[in-house]
């Protein structure tokens, strides 16, 4: 069983909803990025998504666009992100998912990417602009290296495509709660629960729900019908605000605990 599958199985045993966190690697720089990942792990994040910055992040809203720019300006690349994961792996308990656009992976080489991802101890990958039809080669290589490929599912995804994603994906499925780009919102989208119900009708794979989550009541709400909630832009916002503050990691830890606190009730 993969580290990701183990984590979800443990969550299901306790009945506690999980929390998946997203931050962009190298934002604001490599050293602070390593500290941030450790802080999120300490605070009890169940899975860490580590974003590989890309020059043209067309599925991301302004917050993560700016994070990508900061990370690129600090010299972050796919190779340096893998090195970062390697550095923090042994001090971090949570499984790590590499979150990326297709082009950096294709440029690095799919085979080299999978080999190196396995070496540094990453647990899975999610490629935003690589739909099921284009993901075959990557999936096979990840699977033979024991890593999970996580697929995104959206309110526009047909039942037939959910079925395909469920049979080709592993670890968990990532449900997008709303149409649009990434970004924190005040309220949870109404279509999210329906999407999760459609996924549940087809597969027993765990489901995490993201896009727009920023408050403990969102996490608690998602926890009632999905396995985990994903928080991204809200954390990245905080990194942008507190990048130069001595309290950066403390604030992030406090925020994650605040989100999780509600989920424990």
């Amino acid at each position: 069983m993969s580290r990701i599958a183990e984590r979800f199985s443990a969550l299901r045993t306790t009945g506690r909803p999980g929390l998946v966190t997203y931050v962009t690697a190298g934002d604001p720089d490599a050293a602070r990025s390593a500290m941030i990942l450790q802080a999120l792990d300490r605070a009890g994040a169940d899975i860490l998504e580590v974003g590989i910055p890309f020059s043209d992040p067309l599925a991301d809203g302004p917050v993560i666009q700016r994070a990508s720019q900061r990370a690129l300006a600090a010299g972050t690349t796919l190779a340096s992100t893998l090195a970062l994961v390697g550095n923090v792996r042994r001090v971090i308990q949570a499984p790590i998912v590499l979150f990326t656009y297709a082009n950096p992976v294709l440029r690095y080489g799919v085979e080299a990417f999978v080999r190196r991802a396995a070496e540094v101890g990453a647990d899975g990958a999610l490629v935003l602009d690589l739909p099921i039809e284009e993901a075959g080669g990557l999936r096979e290589r990840l699977a033979s290296a024991g890593l999970d490929l996580i697929f995104l599912l959206s309110p526009t995804t047909t039942t037939e495509r959910i079925r395909k994603a469920a049979s080709l994906g592993s670890g968990f499925l990532y449900g997008i709660s709303r149409l649009g780009v990434t970004g924190a919102r005040d309220r949870l989208a109404v279509g999210a629960q329906e999407l999760v119900a459609r996924i549940r009708a087809i597969t027993a794979l765990p489901v995490a729900v993201g896009f727009g989550i920023s408050r403990p009541e969102h996490v608690a709400e998602v926890g009632r019908w999905a396995d985990a909630a994903v928080v991204g832009s809200a954390l990245v916002n905080m990194i942008e605000r507190d990048a130069d503050s001595p309290d950066l990691t403390k604030n992030l830890e406090g925020y994650v605990q605040w989100l999780k606190g509600a989920s424990a009730t």
Binding site: F54, S55, D56, P57, L58, A59, G61, Q65, L72, T77, L78, A79, Y101, A102, N103, P104, V105, L106, R107, Y108, L128, D129, L130, P131, E133, E134, F151, L152, L153, S154, P155, T156, T157, T158, R161, I176, L179, G180, V181
Partner: protein, 408 residues
């Protein structure tokens, strides 16, 4: 010459050369989009495949192209330019004389007709030089569709006239400040809007780029250029041209004119990219000179990228050629040897612009001036017996201020 080119029939070529079922031309093309867009794009593909077979749709489109756009556009033998270049005879396919002043209207009307057929009420589009934005705003006015055009902040400055034209036509122009503030960033923002408003919004992409079926659909809507030009050329000269030359940004005017000559192996096809200031990262937009295969904005093709897979900044004096990727079918035509690709520098384009103005009385778009520059460069080598057909894809009113600045 007893007959004029206006007696030629007007009709795009549908369903002649489809990519494979996944939208690939050899190893190029495909559909690299976020999951939310997959179902809408599959719907678009189904609707387009149904529409292009429907005689009603074809009839409506041909009527628009004839009675509204003013097609066929003329073919013009450029006598004085030929004498100046000193070799092959140069002919100009005058897409600058199409309504709105560029070939872009052929595609904008085709897709707006499709959007209406699909029951969409809102259209978003990107624009670089503003020609596609103006064409889309025009088509939306014709069909009564709400229209928002994304445009890079830098492009809005260098193409201020077209911004005002779009607004006069009732479109809302949305300024894009992110990234390099040019066409690439306008496409990112248009796609972000589409993914957010996918239920009621149609994305009217302006070139042979993006996820399948856009490269196919845009080529087919533009194929009317090549169909007309081929018939006009044969009628005028009794034979086929030796070389067809067109500028290539995304590559829609080039695909449009190449299409009719693909099966004529004796006709050489040449695409001309923007060489900018020099072929060095950040100073040009010649993807085949400085790029490599990669995935950008939904399609796999030749892309200007750094060693880590990030997209490099580009430069061209012409906003319409200032883009980091090229249409996937062009990459395939190059790989199979059916077409070849050259580049012309900013300076070459400015010189050709001046020549064409003084010798032929035509103010060409700076984009098209790249094609004219290349035609003039190869004309002496080809010799007097040879002929060159240049696609003059647009008119240059929009560029007059940029040219004034460049000449100052």
């Amino acid at each position: 010459m007893t007959e004029t080119s206006a007696t030629i029939g007007v009709a795009p070529a549908f369903g002649r050369r489809d990519p494979d079922a996944r939208g690939y031309y050899g190893p190029y093309g495909g559909r690299f989009v976020p999951e939310t867009l997959v179902a809408p794009i599959e719907e678009l593909e189904r609707e387009y495949f149904a529409a292009r077979k429907d005689p009603e749709f074809q009839r409506a489109l041909i009527t628009l192209l004839t009675d509204y756009v003013g097609r066929p556009t003329p073919l013009h033998c450029a006598e004085r330019l030929t004498a100046e270049a000193g070799g092959a005879r140069i002919y100009l396919k005058r897409e600058d004389l199409a309504h709105t002043g560029a070939h872009k209207i052929n595609n904008a009307l085709g897709q707006a007709l499709l959007a209406s057929r699909m029951g969409k009420h809102r259209v978003v589009a990107e624009t670089g030089a503003g020609q596609h934005g103006v064409a889309t705003a025009t088509a939306c006015a014709v069909f009564g569709l709400a229209c928002e055009v994304f445009m890079g902040a830098d492009d809005m400055e260098r193409q201020a006239l077209n911004v005002f034209r779009m607004e006069l036509l009732g479109a809302r122009v949305r300024r894009v400040e992110g990234g390099s503030r040019t066409l690439k960033d306008a496409i990112n923002e248009a796609m972000r809007d589409w993914v957010t408003n996918v239920h009621d919004t149609y994305y009217l992409l302006g070139s042979v780029l993006g996820p399948h079926p856009y490269p196919l659909m845009v080529r087919e809507f533009q194929s009317v250029i090549g169909r007309e030009a081929r018939a006009q050329f044969v009628k005028m000269t009794g034979t086929l041209p030796s070389v067809v030359v067109a500028c290539v940004g995304g590559g829609s005017n080039a695909m449009g004119i190449f299409d009719a000559f693909i099966d004529d192996p004796e006709v050489k096809l040449v695409g001309v990219e923007a060489g900018g200031e020099r072929i060095e990262a950040g100073h040009h937009a010649a993807r085949f000179a400085g790029g490599s295969p990669g995935v950008l904005q939904g399609t796999r093709s030749f892309v200007l990228q750094d060693k880590d897979g990030n997209i490099e900044p580009t430069h061209s004096i012409s906003a319409g050629l200032d883009y980091a990727a090229v249409g996937p079918e062009h990459a395939w035509l190059r790989e199979t040897g059916r077409a070849e690709y050259a580049w012309a520098s900013d300076r070459d384009a400015l010189e050709a612009f001046g020549l064409l103005a003084r010798l032929e009385g035509v103010l060409a778009a700076l984009e098209s001036a790249h094609a004219v520059a290349h035609a003039c460069a190869i004309a002496p080598r080809l010799g007097r017996e040879a002929t060159i057909l240049v696609n003059l894809s647009g008119r240059g009113d929009k560029d007059v201020q940029s040219i004034q600045r460049a000449m100052a």
